[in-house]
């Protein structure tokens, strides 16, 4: 009987995949930012402008390399494409207090959100970090990448240009 129900659920799920082919949009999860304000992630996309959502953690070296490299390019990217970068920390209680000191010390000008128990990461199907999503001005996820290696910023830039051309 349980096997039958599992099977039934899979069939239903497949039906859904066929039936629902809309572009993936942002799920709404309530998170705090570093100023203590509550932000709904459903509102992260800026109308008409691209948003780059980067999942990271203070203990994740490639994540920090990614965001440190973007930081050097961010001003130019903003001028050319209007992109807003949102850095979503998945640090848990052990390291959450390190986020604000670290972010300010390395001079990131991003919006930083605290996803303390990974509610937003789960809703976005993030398996591991770094995981970066590019969201267009309509709020649809148009590109994603589950890794960071030096040079990836060039691909991000190309994708950003596609959105504003």
């Amino acid at each position: 009987m349980p096997r039958f129900h599992s099977f039934l659920m899979l069939i239903c799920a497949l039906t859904l995949i066929v039936g629902a082919s809309e572009a993936q949009s942002l799920p709404a999860v309530q998170l705090k930012n570093l100023a203590g304000e509550t932000i709904s992630t459903g509102d992260l996309a800026t109308e008409g402008q691209p948003t780059l959502i980067c999942f990271w953690a203070t203990w994740c070296s490639p994540c920090k390399r990614e965001l440190n490299n973007y930081a050097e390019l961010y001003e130019d990217w903003q001028d050319e494409t209007g992109v807003n970068i949102v850095a979503v920390s998945i640090d848990d209680q052990r390291s959450i207090r390190r986020v604000a000191p670290y972010v300010n010390s390395v001079l990131w000008d991003y919006d930083v959100l605290l996803d303390l128990n990974k509610d937003f990461a789960r809703a976005m199907q993030v398996v591991n970090v770094p995981h970066t999503f590019l969201v267009n001005g309509e709020g649809d996820i148009v590109w994603q990448h589950n890794n960071y290696a030096d040079g990836d910023e060039e691909e991000v830039y190309e994708e950003l240009l596609k959105l504003v051309e």
């Binding site: 659920m9 993936q24 799920p27 128990n117």
Partner: protein, 561 residues
């Protein structure tokens, strides 16, 4: 029957919505991810690698979530055929290990979930349900949760459920029931009409109450026949404040008598106090914290240990390290029976354009963490049997558990070259955190790590790590070399060699060589590796699990859509 009922509700809900929304412009979306890990095992007596009867291990997970407006429903299908080494070996078979249906109204005032869910109250000191899939840790609650935000600035959460304990072709929950309520008041939002949003100081208050029920019974201690409490309550109060670059937080937690396997079935109440203070401005960040946790192990089954059925979460005071030798040989884990601890950390960027800062600025950080046992006096006679000890202060006791001092300097020299140097000094009590079987006492270790990164050509770079650990104790000195070459955005190849060159036992001076290649294509990621994996401790986010030595292939695939 209950399980089938929930599955049916979700399945019917999903299919009903699928059909009713057919062709509708408000059609829902389906998102999901998959993750697979396959390992093969070969015998290798030099490192103690054993071959299980199946010769291979296979773990797989598939998540599917349907979203439509405020409604979402999903499930996770899991396979352990058989579980890879290092995972709980009792996880067996394939089936649905997590399923839920949730409605959150668009203005956020009402949010309810039936089925499985994760949750954290405050710092987690009285309740945290979470998952670290790579470690096989999952204490998801299975029941009902209601979140209400009746007015701006007030959030109330209430839940009833049982916790995930095991998996044998289906989810298996523990025997205890968890009942919990939490309230948070954000004063600035609540008092918005009085100008709260414009106040320079942001204040959040919170309180939680969590109760577990488990059928009782009696235990005997010497000639005493003691009754076990069936209902155990824990509570906490917290206050967080932000002003300018300053932040401060305090949380106090208590728990009534809860004799359990962690505390040796004593009837002493539990208590915890957590303090945090931070200051940050552009280019500088400072963080101080102190924590005393006394007898706060809280599980929905009083007789289990280690990773099973924790209701709360008590993170370690030390930093989560990332370099191989610093992270995996002597990782500290909170002593669950009780400890006093403190830490301090500073981050600073020497401005660019200065002599020390160089062209791009130089980043520096230093961190110190210390933990000791509690300052206690053991009780004698019957009082000792029943209550164990009394605590004299919130301060440090005489036994050192850990000292961890580390400093990092990183600098970009040019567009093509950057480096980072790290130094660590550990004093690590292996009696408090038993990470090794070859030494009992305090390990004194110095670790040096130099990481370099060279951009070899457009979109290609070579990253290397040279690590050395020096100690007179335990297995002696270690060296690790890592080389990783990346072709952005799709390919990587890496080699890691760990060498226990200073082991007092010369036959144990082996190389653990492991190589991997991988491809990343958007959200899809495949890696294939081969080599020796050392017996050791594997940690994620402050939780660690012992992993046995192994030798063989490993294939990892993950994807999301």
């Amino acid at each position: 029957m209950k399980r089938i009922a929930i599955l049916s509700i979700i399945a019917l809900g999903l299919s009903g919505i699928a059909w009713s929304q057919g062709g509708d412009s408000e059609a829902g979306t389906v998102t999901g991810n998959v993750q697979m890990l396959w390992q093969s095992y070969s015998e290798d007596p030099a490192i103690g690698a054993m071959v299980p009867p199946e010769k291979t291990g296979f773990n797989a997970f598939g998540n599917l979530i349907y979203n439509q407006g405020g409604f979402s429903a999903g499930l996770r299908y899991e396979s352990y055929l058989s579980a890879v080494l290092g995972f709980p070996g009792r996880f067996k078979g394939s089936g649905v290990g997590y399923r839920f249906a949730r409605y959150a109204d668009p203005d956020g005032k009402v949010d309810f979930t039936v089925g499985n869910f994760y949750e954290q109250f405050g710092s987690g000191i009285v309740l945290r349900a979470y998952e670290e899939r790579a470690l096989g840790i999952d204490n998801a609650l299975d029941g009902v949760r209601l979140i209400l935000r009746p007015v701006d600035g007030i959030e109330v959460k209430a839940l009833y459920g049982r916790q995930r304990l095991d998996f044998d072709s289906r989810l298996i929950n523990g025997p205890g029931t968890v009942r919990a309520v939490d309230g948070t008041v954000d004063l600035n939002y609540l008092l918005a009409e009085q100008g709260g949003n414009d106040w320079k100081t942001k204040v959040t208050l919170g309180a939680s109450f969590v109760s577990k029920f488990q059928a009782g019974g009696t235990i005997t201690k010497d000639s005493l026949l003691l009754t076990l409490p069936e209902n155990v309550g824990a509570w906490s109060y917290r206050l967080d404040a932000l002003r300018g670059g300053w932040s401060a937080g305090i949380e106090y937690a208590g728990k009534i008598n809860d004799p359990n396997a962690d505390n040796g079935y004593i009837y002493r109440n539990g208590e915890a106090l957590l303090l945090n203070l931070g200051y940050t401005r552009r280019g500088l960040g400072v963080s101080l914290s102190a924590k005393t946790v006394d007898n706060m192990s809280f599980r929905s089954d009083r007789d289990v240990l280690l990773f099973d059925l924790p209701i709360n979460y008590i993170p370690a005071i030390t930093q989560q390290h990332t370099y191989n030798l610093a992270a995996t040989l002597y990782p500290y884990a909170t002593v669950i029976s009780g400890e006093s601890s403190a830490s301090a950390e500073i981050f600073y960027t020497i401005p660019k354009g200065t002599k020390l800062g160089g062209k791009y600025g130089t980043k520096i950080s230093a961190n110190f963490a210390a933990a000791n046992d509690l300052d206690t006096t053991n009780l004698a006679g019957v009082e000792g049997l029943v209550n164990g000890y009394e605590r004299n202060s919130w301060g440090f006791g005489p036994t050192k558990f850990v000292r961890d001092f580390n400093v990092q300097v990183s600098r970009k020299e040019s567009k093509k070259f950057k480096w980072k140097y790290s130094y660590y000094n550990f004093q690590f009590n292996t009696l408090a955190t038993p990470v090794t079987t070859t030494f009992k006492g305090i390990v004194y270790a110095d670790i040096h790590v130099l990481e370099t990164q060279i951009k070899t050509r457009k979109r290609e770079s070579l990253r290397t790590e040279f690590q050395a650990l020096f100690t007179e104790q335990d297995k002696g000195d270690w060296a690790t070399v890592v080389a990783e070459y990346t072709w952005s955005p799709h390919w990587f190849a890496s080699v890691i060699d760990q060498y226990n060159f200073g082991n007092p036992d010369e036959s144990a001076r082996v190389h653990y060589l492991y190589a991997a290649v991988g491809r990343i294509d958007g959200p899809h990621r495949l890696s294939i590796g081969y080599g020796k994996r050392r017996e050791g401790i594997f940690c994620i986010g402050g939780v660690c699990r012992a992993v046995p030595a192994s030798n063989g292939f490993e294939v990892n695939f993950s994807s999301s859509f």
